[in-house]
Amino acid sequence: MRLEALAVALPDVAGHPNRVPFEGVLTLVDEPSNRPPSGARGHRVILTRAAAIAALPSLLGMAVDYAPGWDGHDARRKCGIITEADVEGNRLQVSGYLFGKDFPEVEEQMRRSNAGTMGMSYEIADAHVADMNASIWSLTRATFTGAAILLREKAAYRETLFRLAAKRCRSTGLAATVPERRCTERLGRPHGSNNGQLEKGKEARCR
């Protein structure tokens, strides 16, 4: 299993009222979207693994937003932040925080909705298409500018996922119960010593 991962280490604040951890599958790499994304002129797209890995740094610190109907993006409703991203297998996984106090309706929606009904959608800019004439566009370069939480059926990729995380730090999988450990600990750094810095890790996310 190949894993490429990046994370922004934020200081832990126990019981932070505005941080609700989430995790999700933002998209699949090297696999065509099930539907043509918006802006792709009716073409389905493949985000290549190389492009996704190269674009991982641009994803960190980007916001997650939502539209009231859970059917698309609304860049002015930024309800959370992405702090970790990795490509594991063909899944681009992300995790971060929702601003639970500011957007209680989002947390409420997540708790109310059935498991597996919520998905994610990326927003990219400056995407390079290898062959504009191809029926499926292959994206060989991109910059992530944000992501949205939405109903899975509204996502161009059917296999995306969004859910509240049980704990702040997740393992390589999307297990529902992950032992509570700080990400700074998994990287062997003292707590709070590397706040805000970009870290690169491979293999397991938590020790």
């Binding site: 043509p36 792709a40 059917d71 995407a127 390079h128 504009m132 995306t160």
Partner: protein
């Protein structure tokens, strides 16, 4: 001599011109083939959403695929055959000393059926084959 030189120069000049046009054409084609897109959002465009009918069909397809997978899995498993035989056949075999259908020896079976006519022997063997006791 000069005439030949002049002709060669003209030919070369024409070839260079052709090459330049070809390069320009290739560059144009390349630019048209690959390109940059300012913004892509991985959400289904409004108006292009999955209709309830499509959703229903997708659900049915998923269910059908699951059923096919299950049937395939069953097909790869050794069939649990029910070894039942008509009572008359069982009695005939018992008289010949065959009481279990789990391991019938071909020689023992032939010996057990020696008292029967050819048709009866064929009928018994056919029944055993149907029951899965005889390969």
């Amino acid at each position: 001599m000069e005439g030949a030189m002049s002709e060669s120069v003209e030919k070369l000049s024409a070839a260079v011109s052709l090459l330049e046009r070809a390069i320009a054409s290739l560059e144009q084609r390349d630019a048209a083939m690959s390109g940059d897109v300012q913004r892509i959002v991985a959400a289904v465009e409004h108006g292009a959403e999955i209709s309830p009918r499509e959703l229903e069909l997708e659900r049915k397809l998923a269910a059908a695929e699951q059923q096919i997978a299950e049937l395939r899995a069953q097909g790869t498993r050794p069939a649990a055959t029910r070894k039942t035989l008509p009572a008359s056949t069982t009695q005939l075999l018992a008289k010949g000393g065959i009481t279990s259908l789990e391991s019938i020896d071909a020689g023992a079976l032939d010996a057990a059926l020696t008292g029967l006519s050819l048709e009866q022997r064929i009928a018994v063997k056919a029944q055993l084959m149907r029951a899965g006791a005889l390969a």
